[in-house]
């Protein structure tokens, strides 16, 4: 068992600075999903990779101290249920499932296109949490011998 888990000091220092930039970039891509290429899935993958970056550079224990894993694990189905709730709200307010009922503003604005923005954010959260949970479980599988699925 190494006394110093993770990678060298240079990697740790650069990661400490750059991970916030990566998360910011991921949020930018999620929020501008209706104006430029990207959207929920691509931004979610970028945010999950930011967490994976921290896990690679610092080791398993630091990531469990930084983010509470139970919260991450619970956020994913909550986001899924919220997506379906917005869809059902579309039935009530707009007549059909996933109808667009929020106001569509002017073109090229950030708040245009109704509920596509909200759905992008929800998908971004769900993909980020889901992908990070999968990668974390695959990485720590050897530590819990005979671990969970």
């Amino acid at each position: 068992m190494k006394t110093n888990p993770g990678m060298t000091l240079i990697v740790k220092t650069v990661t400490r600075i750059s991970v916030w930039l990566i998360i910011l970039y991921g949020f930018y891509i999620i929020l501008h999903g209706h104006l430029s290429p990207g959207g929920g899935f691509a931004g979610g993958v970028i945010i999950a990779l930011a967490f994976l970056n921290v896990m690679l550079a610092y080791g398993h224990e630091t990531i469990t101290r930084w983010l509470s894993l139970k919260f991450m694990h619970d956020l994913e189905p909550a986001a899924g249920a919220l997506y379906l709730a917005i869809g059902v709200l579309g039935i009530a307010l707009g007549g059909r499932f996933l109808a667009n009922f929020l106001p569509k503003g002017t073109l090229f604005d950030l708040w245009s296109s109704g509920n596509i923005l909200v759905l992008n954010i929800i998908i971004g959260i769900k993909v980020a949490m889901g992908l990070f949970t999968v990668v974390w479980t695959l990485a720590v599988f050897r530590l819990y011998q005979g671990g969970d699925k």
Binding site: L107, F108, L131, L138, F141, G146, K149
Partner: protein, 114 residues
């Protein structure tokens, strides 16, 4: 025409890897290559000669006849997500198989037959 043939060649490379390789990880990588070839073919079908990228920008008004078809690009996004899920599941199964059989060689993981 050449582009379509190259895309088909990529598909055949993936199928060759799936059929002949004996290592589990190489089979997973080959199934990834098959997925890439399929996505590439979907995007290649969406090209129009001399057209513009399908994003509306301020100040430049382009009609839909001058844009590349954006619908297959949405199909490819969905397909990439699905293949990500399949690859994650295959990798998890490969890890569990290694834990049970201590090898990645598929000629030795043959408890089910007949």
């Amino acid at each position: 025409m050449i582009v379509y043939l190259l895309c088909f060649a990529l598909f055949l490379v993936g199928i060759y890897g799936l059929i002949t390789k004996r290592d589990l990880i190489k089979i997973i990588i080959a199934s990834g290559i098959v997925g890439y070839a399929t996505n590439l073919m979907l995007i290649l079908f969406a090209y129009r000669k001399g057209a513009h990228y399908p994003i509306l920008e301020k100040g430049k008004m382009v009609t839909s006849q001058m844009m590349v078809d954006p619908l297959p690009q949405a199909l490819v996004l969905t397909s990439i997500v699905i293949e990500l899920g399949i690859t994650a599941m295959l990798v998890a199964l490969a890890i569990r198989l290694y834990e049970k059989h201590q090898t990645f060689d598929i000629t030795k993981i043959r408890r089910l037959s007949g």
